[in-house]
């Protein structure tokens, strides 16, 4: 090996060890897409106070996230937008059951840019295209299907439902105007610029939207993770949740 090559090899190995050391302070969070702004702000605040910790956020639909954790993606904390996906991982002992806590509540609304008069769920058949999160993996989509079924409009909407990969994609479709409207959370509607809130989905039509948070089995003994977990249960977290429109009870 030439002199230059030796130097480069040493440099590379040094860098690797540094990063390996850095990895020891990394926390991986798998979080439901609708909590993106909340968790981003909380992460920034936390790292200011704990500069040795690096928080890596993975946002997606709760079902997809659960599948990823099942397949071994690094994750220390999991926040789901319903109890179903949390139970799914709990049954497989991939989360620490005793650490499971309720994180926040939300409600389902329908927003869009349609010029047609849409004031209740019964008006939906008037529309051409409606975006919902794919019920197979997106809790918001499941809630929407339940609501539509209960109110008897689901059968009238075959071929009109555009499947989105998470609730934020629904919002995007609504904003672009490519669909007449989308089922999103109240908190997402607050962030919308072009889409208007057309109606709130009556709570009796669907189960309560409950966000649950838990430590993954991998992080069971991780003190950093536990510290951050505690932080998310604290007052600062609560005030940020409220700021973005989430309910706490």
């Amino acid at each position: 090996m030439t002199d230059a090559m030796k130097k480069i090899t040493i440099l590379v190995f040094t860098l690797l060890t540094i990063t390996v050391n850095a990895m020891a302070e990394e926390l991986n969070l798998s979080v439901a897409a609708s909590l993106k702004e909340v968790i981003k702000e909380l992460s920034t605040n936390y790292t200011k106070k704990h500069p040795g910790t690096v928080l890596l956020n993975n946002f997606g639909s709760s079902g997809t996230l659960a599948g990823q954790i099942e397949n071994g993606i690094p994750a220390d904390l999991f926040i789901a937008a319903n109890t179903e996906w949390m139970d799914y991982l709990n049954d497989k002992k991939l989360v620490v059951g005793t650490s499971k806590k309720t994180f926040a509540y939300n409600s389902l609304v329908f927003a869009g840019t349609s010029s047609k008069k849409v004031s209740s769920i019964k008006d939906l058949p008037k529309l051409e295209k409606i975006a919902i999160g794919n019920p197979k993996s997106v809790p918001a989509g499941e809630y929407a299907i339940t609501a539509m079924k209960k109110s008897g409009v689901l059968t009238k909407l075959t071929g009109k439902l555009v499947m989105a990969k998470d609730v934020r994609e629904c919002l995007m479709y609504a904003e672009l105007g490519e669909v007449d409207g989308a089922f999103i959370y109240k908190t997402d509607a607050l962030l919308a610029q072009k889409a208007k809130l057309l109606f709130v989905v009556p709570q009796e039509l669907y189960p309560r939207v409950i966000y649950q948070i838990a430590l993954t089995a991998k992080a069971a003994k991780n003190n950093e993770a536990k510290t951050f977990f505690a932080y998310l249960q604290g007052n600062e977290a609560k005030s940020i949740l409220t700021k973005f429109g989430f309910s706490l009870k």
Binding site: T64, N134, K136, T158, M163, G177, E178
Partner: protein, 228 residues
């Protein structure tokens, strides 16, 4: 093998989109290949680059461009809206996505077929009294048929597998735009749907094998009738 009615819908839709995309592209692809191989004109290089561009772009980029162009905000989209034509988020958008993505493959194949024709063969036909159109029908088409077939098969297969551009431009609408790849992606995003996903994957493979076999068979037939 379990197949829901939605799965069956996605199979029919995939076939419908692939057949339509191929049928639409064939005449345009043939004309384009003919222009490139037999005509000299300035800016020919530009045309070739334009045609090959989709090959080098990620399909999602193509899908995004289609979204920008044909969407309610896009200039073409606005124009078409006046004519009450809405393309995005319909099966037609899926066809357009397949056409854009598969076109370079089609043209390339036909080009190869045409380039393999000896120039003197065409000169012979012309001096024997054939007009350019006559030459086209009696000499160029039969002798480049293999390339045309290969291009069509490639285009068809590519369309069956098209995902990135389709999901962005046509969206994932079961029954309307959810082709087989989109349906499989659906299942893949949701854990515990593995058997459903596998069933569709199997169907996908069966269709592909069928297309490949058909291509081989027809190719040999063409060789025989072309005296090779």
């Amino acid at each position: 093998m379990q197949l829901t009615s939605e799965d069956i819908a996605s199979i029919w839709l995939s076939l419908k989109v692939a057949v339509t995309a191929t049928a639409l592209s064939l005449p345009i692809g043939f004309a384009t290949a003919w222009l490139i191989v037999f005509k000299k004109f300035r800016l020919k290089v530009l045309l070739e680059v334009l045609i090959n561009l989709p090959l080098t772009l990620p399909p999602v980029v193509i899908g995004y461009f289609l979204l920008l162009l044909l969407g309610k905000q896009g200039w073409l989209g606005k124009l078409l809206a006046e004519l009450h034509i809405h393309l995005l988020f319909t099966w037609k958008a899926a066809v357009i996505a397949s056409v854009v993505v598969g076109f370079p493959l089609l043209v390339r194949s036909i080009r190869l077929g045409m380039e393999s024709i000896d120039q003197q063969m065409l000169e012979a036909s012309q001096t024997l009294g054939a007009s350019w159109f006559d030459s086209l029908l009696t000499i160029i088409v039969p002798l480049s048929m293999k390339g045309i077939l290969a291009g069509a098969s490639l285009m068809f297969a590519r369309s069956l597998g098209e995902f990135g551009a389709t999901i962005i431009a046509a969206g994932n609408i079961p029954g309307k735009t959810q082709t087989i790849p989109l349906a499989i992606y659906d299942y893949a995003s949701s854990p515990s749907s593995t058997p459903m996903a596998l069933s569709l994957c199997l169907i996908s493979v069966i269709i592909s094998v069928f297309v490949l076999l058909l291509h081989e068979l027809l190719s040999k037939k063409i060789d025989r009738s072309n005296g090779l």
